[in-house]
């Protein structure tokens, strides 16, 4: 049941997007996130969709693979959508007994869910096309200035990449523990939301115990391989910009400019 989680998973392929410098991708994702909230009309979202489609096509990651990442937040999307739909005051366009849907509500609901979907798909492109190590390297170099104010940038970046590496392992483990408990009569499937949530509690204890054990093993293995913090480390894959990275920067900036223009000059 947890196997569908694709957020934070690398999808190996040979593509232009895969080869881009992670700093470009981080910057691009950041700009993209802002642009989602800049867009507020049909033209804006159409342009956004077009650009996203081009990037997805270039990345050679199957679209179905990204959509799978959405399945985890469907409930959240529906709840957010419903609340926006029925709870926003405005001119009623449809009344069903005590509840009514207003024009603003409809627009808000569509915007809200649309933005969430774009957010998840867009950010998953970054994690799907960038290995966690590259991502870490990208973050580490981009955030280097923060070391001046004593932020342990290298350590945080390493922690992130290790967390990403262990997601599938812990997911598998959760599956195993669930099956073991189901074999002894535990029930995860039936009952209301609260009952289901309660059934999850006995899962957490063994999962945490094993996660801590893994963490301690991993720390030992890292120490045995001479890990002693970020100082004095060299890079196996140092980052350097290629011609395409520079072109990508220009493209990202042009894209943002276009989005702003659409927001300012186009009214639908």
């Amino acid at each position: 049941m947890f196997r569908e989680i694709t957020i934070g998973q690398y999808y190996p392929a040979e593509s232009r997007i895969h080869r881009l410098d992670p700093r470009v991708k981080l910057f691009g994702t950041f700009i993209y996130l802002i642009s989602i909230f800049v867009a507020n009309g049909i033209v804006g979202f159409a342009f956004l969709t077009l650009m996203l489609a081009i990037v997805i096509k270039l990345s050679k990651v199957p679209f179905s693979y990204m959509v799978k990442g959405l399945s985890g937040i469907v409930v959240l999307l529906i709840v957010a959508g419903i609340f926006n739909l029925f709870m926003t005051p405005g001119q009623a366009i449809l009344t069903l007994g005590p509840v009514s849907i207003s024009d603003v509500g409809l627009k808000n609901a569509a915007l809200m869910t649309g933005r969430m979907v774009f957010l998840i798909i867009g950010t998953s492109i970054m994690t799907l096309t960038t290995t966690p190590n590259q991502l870490t390297d990208g973050l580490e170099t981009s955030l280097k200035p923060l070391t001046l104010v004593n932020v342990p940038v290298h350590e945080i970046a390493l922690m992130m990449s290790i967390a990403l590496r262990f997601i599938p392992i812990l997911v598998e483990e959760t599956d195993k523990i669930m099956k073991a408990q189901m074999a002894r009569g535990a029930d995860f499937e039936t009952g209301g939301l609260i009952k289901k949530a309660k059934a999850m509690v006995p899962l957490l204890v063994p999962l945490f115990v094993s996660a801590f054990r893994r963490a301690s093993d991993l720390a030992l293995a890292m120490e045995a391989r001479c890990y002693s913090g970020g100082e004095g480390r060299t890079k196996m894959k140092p980052l350097h910009y290629e011609a395409w990275d520079k072109r990508a920067y220009v493209f990202i900036l042009l894209y943002m400019a276009a989005m702003i223009c659409i927001r300012v000059f186009v009214w639908i």
Binding site: Y10, I169, R214, R225, C226, Y227, S228, R233
Partner: protein, 282 residues
């Protein structure tokens, strides 16, 4: 000079009660002497709780002696400044393959060790390629470790240690979590590295079959070394091994029992082929 020299090595763990007060002391290692020459293939046998993993951690300076001394490549492990050089010359492979792979791409994981010791980029790549080839995993260099079998993961872990170009590799029950196929792969790789690259190997295990081809075997029990010798010497003492709850290979046991019942056989038969030879049937 021996690459590893332990003299009267003692390690004590404090047992603590719930408030953290010391209840008592467990002795994990009790006056252990160990001498390993460069290029040897050494095995350490022992049951759970016999202190063999504690000994392994001493060789890598992950633990330091409570008493006695241990020198690795001529360096005293109890001096903090020797910690990193020792870990570089004595690499360690652990039991659980999943818990020692740090990166999500095979080659990046192998490069982790060289990165830590500050090797220049070009040389890291050379080392990664060389060490992955030496364990026969080069064709998987761009794969995710999650998709590999246990034996393959363990070979990647060995490559990760090899990339630091150690003089000595300590393998702490590297096969305990593997299927028979994976166990064979890992033991074969260990012997190849020992023969072709001249790396000293210290194999810690509780599978008797795995120690047959070693140069020298130690048996540990309750923190002490209770037996030592060549595999043949060790295996000819079947009754002693039984006493230490060690499972001897079936063929050795069979030969031993036949001899006890009057058949004229030498002690310490290690393999099926050898047994057939002795019986003149092969």
């Amino acid at each position: 000079m021996n690459i590893i020299e332990a003299k009267d090595l003692v390690h004590e763990f404090f047992r603590r009660d719930e408030e953290g007060n010391i209840e008592g002391i467990s002795v994990a290692l009790d006056k252990v002497d160990l001498n390993v020459k460069e290029g040897q293939f050494i095995s350490i046998l022992g049951h759970n709780g016999s202190g063999k993993s504690t000994l392994a951690k001493h060789i890598n300076a992950l633990l330091t002696p409570s008493d006695g001394t241990i020198y690795v490549d001529g360096k005293d492990t109890s001096k903090p400044e020797n910690e990193l050089p020792i870990r570089q010359s004595a690499g360690m492979v652990f039991q659980n393959p999943d818990n020692q792979i740090i990166a999500s791409i095979v080659e990046e994981d192998v490069g982790f060790g060289p990165e830590n010791i500050g090797i220049p980029t070009d040389e890291i790549w050379e080392r990664v390629e060389r060490s992955l080839k030496s364990v026969g995993m080069w064709k998987y260099h761009a794969h995710s470790p999650n998709k590999l079998s246990g034996g393959q993961k363990q070979r990647v872990a060995i490559a990760g240690v090899m990339a630091m170009e150690p003089k000595c590799i300590i393998m702490d029950e590297p096969t305990a979590m593997l299927d028979p196929q994976g166990r064979k792969e890992v033991i074969k790789v260990a012997h190849e590295l020992n023969k072709k690259k001249g790396v000293t190997v210290i194999l810690i295990t509780h599978y008797m079959e795995e120690v047959i081809d070693s140069d020298y075997v130690y048996v540990m029990e309750k923190g002490k070394i209770v037996m030592e010798g060549t595999p043949r010497e060790i295996f000819s003492r079947v009754d002693d091994l039984k006493h230490y709850r060690m499972e001897v290979p079936q063929v050795t046991y069979l030969a031993h029992e036949l001899k006890k019942n009057g058949l004229d056989l030498p002690e310490g038969i290690l393999t099926r082929e050898e047994f057939l030879d002795v019986l003149n049937i092969g």
